[in-house]
């Protein structure tokens, strides 16, 4: 799509959408939102960018292959799930820091789990769309 409006807009939209996705991710525990939606929004941001600038440009901008996010996310989720077992508690027990952090709120294993989900969904969606776009 060769539209100058879209190209200019996507330059500004990309960081904003990513910021929004992180916002959605972080508030997920208290308000509507969460890792799934956050990851999807972030993926859409890059899809939009690739529409405006072409896939090559987006890939260059992203630097790493989106597939890399998948194992990172999976590992993060798995670690946050297994971590309580080291302390002798059962799988998936929530661990929390007592003091709330400003803006984010309480930090606990659930948050890292959520971030893992975010990465996986982001990675999966972008991998699929990029490979499909390339193959067409």
């Amino acid at each position: 799509m060769n539209s100058i409006i879209l190209r200019t807009a996507s330059n500004y939209l990309l960081p904003m959408l990513i910021l929004f996705s992180v916002f959605v991710l972080l508030r997920g525990h208290y308000e509507p939102g969460g890792g799934f939606v956050g990851g999807l929004v972030a993926a859409i941001a890059f899809v939009l960018h690739s529409f405006a600038h072409g896939l090559k440009e987006t890939r260059r901008f992203l630097r790493i292959h989106p597939g890399v996010f998948i194992p990172i996310g999976l590992l993060l989720s798995l670690i946050s799930a297994v971590l309580p077992m080291i302390g002798g508690q059962s799988l998936m027990t929530g661990l929390w820091f007592n003091e709330p952090v400003p803006v984010i709120g309480l930090i606990g294993s659930a948050l890292f789990f959520e971030i893992g989900v975010y990465f996986v969904v982001f990675g999966v969606t972008l991998t699929m769309l990029f490979t499909i776009t390339e193959s067409v």
């Binding site: 997920g28 525990h29 939102g33 939606v37 998948i70 999976l74 659930a110 969904v121 490979t131």
Partner: protein
Amino acid sequence: MLIAVLSGILFALLFLFFRLQNGWLRFIPAFLPLSLLIYFSTWLPEVAAGKEILFKYTWIPAMGVNLDFKLDGLAMLFSLMITGIGTLVYIYAAAYLSDRSQIHKFFSCLSLFMAAMLGLVLSDNLLVLFIFWELTSISSFFLIGWNTKEEASRKSAVLALAITGGGGFLLLAGVLLMGNVGGSYSIQALTAASATLKQHGSYVLMLCFVFAGAFTKSAMFPFHFWLPGAMKAPTPVSAYLHSATMVKAGIYLLFRLSPVLGGEPLWNYTLMIVGGFTLLYAAFQSLFRTDLKGVLAYSTIAALGLIVLLIGIGTTESFLAAAVFILVHALYKAALFLCTGIIDHAVHSRDLTKLSGLRKIMMPVAIAAGIAALSSAGIPFTFGFIGKDLIYEATMQTGMLAIQLTGLVLIANVLLSYAGYVAGFRPFTGALPEAYADTTKPEFLLWGPPVLLAVLSLLFGFFPALSSPLVNAVVANAGGNPALPDLKLWHGFNLILLLSGVTVLGGVVLYLLRKPADSQVQFMDRFESFSTRSFFLRLAEGIKQISHYFTHKLQNGYLRNYMITIISFLLILLCWKLVKLIPHSIDFSAMTPVSMYDVVILVMMVSAIFVLIFTSSRLTSIISLSIVGYSICLLFVFYGAPDLAMTQFTIDTLTAVLFMLILLKLPPFLTLTNKAIKIRDAIISTIFGGVISMIAFLVLQEPTHKTISRFYADNAYSLAKGKNVVNVILVDFRGSDTLIEITVLTIAALGVYSMLKLKISSSEKE
């Protein structure tokens, strides 16, 4: 004890990985049955003293399935036979099998079989017994079909598996029934509850199932035909499975269940009739065989029939006779089989019309076979004489039936001793054909085992009291009177001795008068089409054709036909039930009121769906699909599901992108089906939609259970420190599900990636 039973299975796995090709290594497996034999022998004094040694291992206690092993007289008799004859067969097989590269697999199967057999006779739990029972069927399948390159061998393996497996299936039903009625699967507990079982209404059913299992395994008429077929197996297998052990499993079961189910007329007469008929039928059949193994197979069936008959009589004398005869038969029949194998190995023939004079090449084999034949005929100073005596003693004490039974056994015994002579003497006497003159002599490891068996036959024949303690313990286990005198060689001149003499003489006369000839086989083949074997084969063929027809009809390769079949069937099932439930009036007041924007969304959706169905443009269909998705997203917004709305929105956007990317590269829609088919499909799918609506509506009428969601609502904050309950469920309460879900997503991404990055090879293009 657990190790002793399971060691065979462990070694079966072990042998698979060690090729025992070079030289003496192949005799190593024989140490397994040998050490087991020694192990079981150490218990012999205690068992002979009448003790029952129990070993308990819990396995699935909740279902009453435990690895309880009981070593009593009966189990001991069989264990010693399994391990003792097993040791000889292992040694023999190592020398016998020519294809050394496969020998480790053979020992693997054989060890598995031995373990299964041990487990079968030792287990006190009926369900565990059943498992081992099936294991023997399975492992014997591999052993019978050992010559995988021969079609006949494969076919008879399948036949044997089908018959014994089918019987095993019925046995399972019987076991479950007994367990249900008796309240336990332990044989000991069931023996105590014997009266309850016998008075229960399903007693007849239990008997039918148990008999079906035992008769198929022990090759009773009309299921006998798998055993001659199974003679396609290598001779060590025939000797081990089909004379000494596996076919005796059914006998063992009947023995074991005698105190549980036995003592009723139904039990006794069924066993007597089936056993007696099989005895006579198979003994008669063995007259018309020229294949050495065929003769042995039919005489084995006859012997099994005789044992069943004896168990059926159900007196102390008959149990004693059966127990002794099991041992007698195992000793002489295994020896004869092994000798047959040696002949086959040396001159590559088992044809009785051709074999003769082999004593000149293999004197030790001739001696072993001769002694075994004498034992089979019941000549004094062999163990067979003792067995024959006891059998006549048992049949003569059956009161009203004494004359009939004794007569029947007498005729059958004459025929059997003829079969013994034919197998034991015919190949070795007479002149040696020139073709066999330069045959090499068999090695010691081949003729050693049968000679040892023959010596044992003689040993027990001279000193029958040696076997008394064990045999008496067996009788006690079967419910007979344990206080028996020791077995004696000489009972004085009486009727029994006369009968024994008649048997021996009759056999000799028959042997001298008859010569095996091919014409006799052809004579029998004329009746083949009436036999149960051909009936079963025709049945199997019929089933195959029916299933072929149905597979063709249903699996026609058209996806929509599958779907129409499935959905129509579902509709017929559901409509029949749902018609009765249609409500007469609908209470709208309890429902959420309809607002303006609800209606707008619904109208939008309905029109989008119809456009989607009728459009021929791909772009339109993608857009309509997106409209449907976004409308659902709006519904989620209105009805308190913001998380869902957000997810649905993003997913729909991405789906639209996906379709745009791919779909436009595919060919445009074509009108492929005619109107009539479209109308038929429309009717089916409308009814299906109606039924789904109906179900949804009926579900709505039921009160919803809020217990679980109440739990989440109450504890989301206190336990998981989150306020968005949906999110808390996803990442905390049901976090492991989510973990699996993202794994699934990863797999999907990998699938997409690999499918598109794979180069299409030229062969795929075809």
